[in-house]
Symmetry: C2
Subunit: 108 residues, 2 copies
């Protein structure tokens, strides 16, 4: 099929999964890491950094933006992208709950 049965899951589960899926590609991890170092970028910066075409980079940026991982502000000719902290706080919170739970009870 290839189609996820989203309707059977909670909004929270779908939203978290969407964000994590967006981060689940090495090029998009690389883009986030570029933004960690340089704080901001335009599409062309990433095109110069990664061995992927401009069209492909643009697509990856769109996916990251769609789930709120980055935000883009138009600056004249180009678009300035940067990280959105809120999303990462959400993810960290989830991961924290997992870790806390695991620590309390060892595996069978």
């Amino acid at each position: 099929m290839g189609i996820t049965k989203s309707e059977h899951f909670t909004d929270h589960q779908n939203e978290l999964a969407n964000v994590l899926k967006a981060l689940g590609h090495p090029a998009r991890v690389a883009i986030v890491e570029y933004l960690i170092q340089h704080k901001q970028c335009i599409c062309g910066d990433i095109v110069n950094e990664l061995p992927l075409s401009q069209a492909t980079i643009s697509q990856h940026l769109r996916e990251l933006k769609q789930v709120g991982i980055i935000q883009g502000n138009i600056e004249g000719n180009s678009i300035c992208y940067c990280l959105n902290p809120l999303v990462f706080e959400q993810i960290t919170k989830f991961m924290g709950i997992v870790i806390e739970s695991v620590m309390k009870n060892k595996c069978c």
Copy 2:
């Protein structure tokens, strides 16, 4: 194409992306949440919990296991699965670095 050009990225980027991709599906988020609450499960528990077939659940469990998110121990007839804290610590560390970076510098 549908094929990720993994060879162009670092091991760290590929590994992190693989773990996040594995968590990037609502059913697999739901499995992790089940494990947070119940500490452990067998395949049949999840089959009873989620509206997906046994074959599909088994596949999702295998994906989670492949990237080290869960571990499975054979217990007679069935297999007991539980969470592996190490992976989540890795993810949290990455997320923490992102947040720290973002806090230092607002967007353009």
